[in-house]
């Protein structure tokens, strides 16, 4: 069985099973050639996009072992296992866990742990055994028998090395630097690559990884498919996370509860807070409801609670006497409301400096900080309620600028007994279309005493349209 990709000159083999390889098929070979060697070769069209998607899912799932997972090439994952190995009983335990879980997903894997990413890659791809853990001092020895392709250099450099007779890393290591340096560009110098692998030189352009975020892990001995498992896991994980936050003097702004399922999927619940916090009760309350809604699928076999976004937080954030300070209490309320209803639904007023009433007062999610705004000048009174969309009304008034006398809103007639205005607000010409018309706002009161805020859009003869249209914009109290 082989996977093929379409190319300009026919189909080429992208990958082949072991059985197919035994019969002669090689990746890179043209299909016709392979068929010549093995007429019974089965082919399936490769699906690189699907493969990439699967790899991404796997990367997310692989975060059960380490928070720092990167996709490496088309078929590999790179994990930063520093600090994670001890949770699985040492490096060998980690390797065993990885292999076991991946194989339970139906994937065969080659795993290597080494002191540098390059060495790990080399050992994983070209190493003798499918799984090995390489201690630091043994790195050079283990790398020596590997082919130079394991250095991960550009193909032409590898070819050159092979032609020069340097087929193994061990032979390369014995060569003098200067002749090689003359032959290759600096970026491709194989000895540099070897140095990097051995940890003698730093990897260029590798981003220095930030400190991994505080994280508490929970592994289950057996998969559990009860939805109540997640809240219970949360109970167990929160204290651990809080301890880490305390140790690092951080407060969480964003929490992530991940449930790792046996089928390779991850169920995630997220909560955000307005103020950094490490108060256990609050953190627990934020995620408790959502944890219950995580879908176990075929079962969870691990959980992680991570503080995805943290801020420095000093000690003693809570007022010990008399309860927490009011601002904190309100922040907690905002957090709770935002988690359950969604951050977009819990908002605070955000004033903007604009004369147009609907622009003068905007809203921002309560979790976000406020933006500065200049103080508004004194204006005519504003209504406590405003319709999101002004509704068109029919008005009887004396043109051109007479006060409204009577209007119809939602099929009911209102006789205006008192009116004040107009308050003229001209369009913001630098923003709006040149056909935008001015508005004359009136405060009107009808016979029963109901008070409204209506406006007439445009003037007769302002050259921007026909007759002016009236709208009802707000209700006064």
């Amino acid at each position: 069985m082989a996977l093929v990709v379409e190319e300009a000159h026919g189909q080429r083999i992208a990958a082949a099973t072991e059985a197919a390889q035994l019969l002669g098929a090689r990746p890179g070979m043209r299909l016709t050639d392979a068929r010549a060697l093995d007429p019974g070769l089965q082919v399936v069209v490769a699906d690189p996009a699907g493969d990439a998607a699967l790899l991404e899912r796997l990367a997310r799932w692989a975060s059960r072992w380490s928070p720092l997972v990167e996709i490496d090439g088309a078929d590999g994952l790179r994990l930063d296992a520093s600090g994670a190995a001890h949770l699985f009983g040492g490096e060998n335990g980690l390797i065993a866990d990885i292999q076991r879980r991946l194989s339970s997903l139906g994937l065969s894997s080659r795993v290597a742990i080494a002191c540098t990413p390059g060495a790990a890659w080399a050992l994983a791809h070209h190493g003798a055994s499918a799984a090995q853990s390489c201690p630091v001092d043994a790195t050079a020895a283990r790398l020596a028998p590997l082919p130079v392709a394991a250095l991960r250099l550009p193909p032409e450099v590898t070819r050159t090395l092979e032609r020069l007779g340097l087929k193994r890393i061990g032979t390369l290591a014995g060569v003098e630097r200067r002749p090689l340096a003359r032959r290759f560009r600096e970026a491709d110098n194989p000895l540099d690559a070897l140095d990097r692998m051995l940890g003698r030189k730093a990897e260029p352009l590798t981003a220095i990884p930030d400190d991994p975020p505080p994280r508490a892990l929970l592994r289950l001995a057996e998969p559990v498919s009860d939805p109540a498992a997640a809240p219970q896991a949360l109970d167990l994980l929160v204290p651990g996370l809080v301890k880490q936050l305390e140790a690092r003097k951080l407060g969480a702004r964003r929490l992530l509860l991940a449930g790792y399922r046996v089928d390779g999927e991850v169920a995630v619940a997220v909560a955000a807070t307005a103020l950094a916090t490490r108060e256990a009760k609050h953190l627990h309350r934020l995620l408790a409801d959502k944890a219950g809604t995580l879908d176990p699928g075929f079962g969870f076999d691990g959980f992680a609670l991570e503080a995805a976004w943290c801020e420095p937080l000093g000690a003693g954030q809570d007022g010990l006497i008399g309860g927490p300070p009011p601002a904190l209490e309100v922040a907690r309320l905002v957090d709770r409301l935002s988690v359950k209803l969604g951050p977009e639904r819990v908002r605070r007023p955000q004033p903007r400096a604009s004369h147009l009433p609907e622009r003068a007062s905007g809203w921002r999610p309560a979790l976000e900080p406020a933006a500065e705004c200049m103080a508004p000048p004194p204006t005519a009174p504003r209504p406590p309620r405003m319709l999101d969309r002004p509704e068109a009304i029919a008005v009887i008034y004396a043109t051109p600028e007479g006060l409204p006398r009577r209007f119809v809103w939602r099929r009911a007639v209102h006789d205006v007994t008192r009116a004040e205005g107009p308050e003229r607000i001209a369009p913001e010409w630098w923003r709006e279309r040149s056909t935008a018309r001015l508005r004359d706002y009136y405060r009107v009161e009808d016979r029963e005493g109901r008070r409204y805020w209506i406006y007439r859009e445009g003037l007769h003869g302002d050259g921007r349209g026909g007759d002016p249209v009236w709208y009802l914009h707000g209700l006064f109290g």
Binding site: R352, M374, A380, E420, P422, E423, W430, Y441
Partner: protein, 411 residues
């Protein structure tokens, strides 16, 4: 039809220079006008304002720029060109009181107003003017004041008694209908306040531009003044475009409930008896030592200077020219001008010996031998001059003089 003559300096010329028929008096006169000489506030220049006022049937228009009289000349000439009567005034912003419109009623009042402004400006950096209410009151004789309330009427109400006490000649409070929503209530409040203090409200539209379509320009000017962009200007810009010249009929309609406010503008305009035409340039008299007329002094200095320059004796051609020019100067009564310049140069030379005088008519009068003869310029005239290069008879307008010193400082 009005025409524009010239390019760099427009001038309003109505008709073909014939006498214009007088415009019948309109019920309303706009007194609160800001021209571009209110720096970065007024958006329409004097000609535009006058033309718009003319179309609306106004017979008279005022000008009140902030803390300056620099714009009055343009308005005066534009209004005269259109057959309207200009009213000269200024808007003063005292540091401890609300704004005031100041319209001098007579020549002396104008002089006091100028002095007041100079006093306020000399204390500050360019563009600022620092006057207190008491200083305004001190120089306030012969000036009619109008109080100009800002948006906050409570503060104005609190400050009004002090103002009324300091300026007994202030009889009016300006009221504007600016479509703020509560205009009727506001003007009614001002009316009651005025009456409580024995004053009257006076209608104005706080004009900053001639027509509503100038609003974008005025907004941009405000942004420049406040050093912000349009997008971030926010409340610094006006919400509407109502601060334009409004016709008498429109103002009468807006002030329907307060016809006395409109009548007050008419009465105010009629009471002003000052025009810029009354001003003539007067040279200081001190530069002439006792016993000689200015002409005699000039002749004396000329001969001394000539003998210094031509030590061997003045050439006959030059002599003839000098005599001719002296006669012309005597006829035009221009001697003081030269004496003044001579004094200024002498002063400048005492500070910096390398100064030389240059004036607007120097291109013409530099050719004047007298100018050369007087010890004030180290440059030879290009040629011996002829009549044509001397100021034409009949034009006794003063020219402006500037003196530059070689070190670069202008005085």
């Amino acid at each position: 039809m009005p025409e524009y003559t010239g390019f760099s300096r427009k001038k309003l010329v109505l008709g073909d220079g014939e006498a214009l028929p007088p415009i019948p008096p309109a019920p309303f006169v706009e007194l609160g006008v800001s021209s571009p000489f209110s720096f970065l506030r007024g958006a329409s220049d004097a000609i535009e304002l006058v033309l718009t006022a003319l179309e609306m049937g106004m017979d008279s228009i005022g000008i009140a720029d902030r803390n300056t009289l620099a714009g009055v000349v343009r308005l005066h000439s534009a209004a005269k060109g259109a057959g309207m009567r200009p009213l000269i005034g200024c808007r003063i912003d005292p540091v401890d009181a609300p704004s005031l419109l100041a319209y001098p009623i007579d020549r002396e009042g104008y002089g006091r107003l100028s002095r007041m402004l100079s006093l306020g400006k000399m204390r500050c950096e360019k563009g600022e003017c620092d006057l207190t209410l008491s200083e305004v009151a001190l120089h306030g004789e012969g000036i009619a004041f109008i109080a100009m309330p800002a948006a906050d009427l409570d503060a104005f109400e609190a400050a009004l008694p002090a103002m009324a006490a300091a300026l007994p000649g202030m009889k009016h409070i300006a009221a504007a209908h600016l479509y703020r929503g509560d205009d009727l209530a506001r003007i009614e409040r001002l009316d009651r306040l005025a009456r409580a203090h024995g004053l009257t409200i006076l209608a104005t539209n706080d004009v900053h531009y001639a027509t509503p379509d100038r609003r974008p320009l005025q907004d941009v000017m405000s942004c420049i003044r406040e050093k912000v962009t349009l997008a971030t200007a926010g409340y610094r810009l006006n919400p509407n475009a109502e601060r334009h010249l409004k016709s008498p009929a429109e103002m009468v309609r807006l002030f329907e409930r307060w016809p006395h406010a409109i009548a007050a503008t008419r009465a105010f305009a009629d009471a002003i008896d000052f025009s810029l035409d009354e001003l003539r340039y007067e040279y200081p008299r001190e530069s002439v030592p006792g016993g000689r007329t200015p002409q005699q002094q000039l002749a004396h200095l000329t001969w001394i200077g000539a003998s210094k320059r031509w030590k061997e004796g003045v050439p006959p051609r030059i002599l003839k020219q000098l005599k001719h020019e002296l006669a012309l100067i005597e006829k035009l009564d221009f001697a003081r001008y030269f004496l003044t310049v001579h004094d200024i140069v002498a002063f400048a030379r005492s500070l910096d010996p390398r100064s030389c005088a240059r004036d607007a008519a120097a291109r013409r009068t530099a050719r004047s031998v007298i100018a050369w003869a007087l010890p004030r310029s180290t440059r030879r005239p290009a040629t011996c001059c002829s009549n044509a290069s001397f100021p034409r008879s009949g034009k006794s307008r003063p020219t402006s003089t500037s003196i530059s010193s070689m070190s670069g400082a202008r005085k």
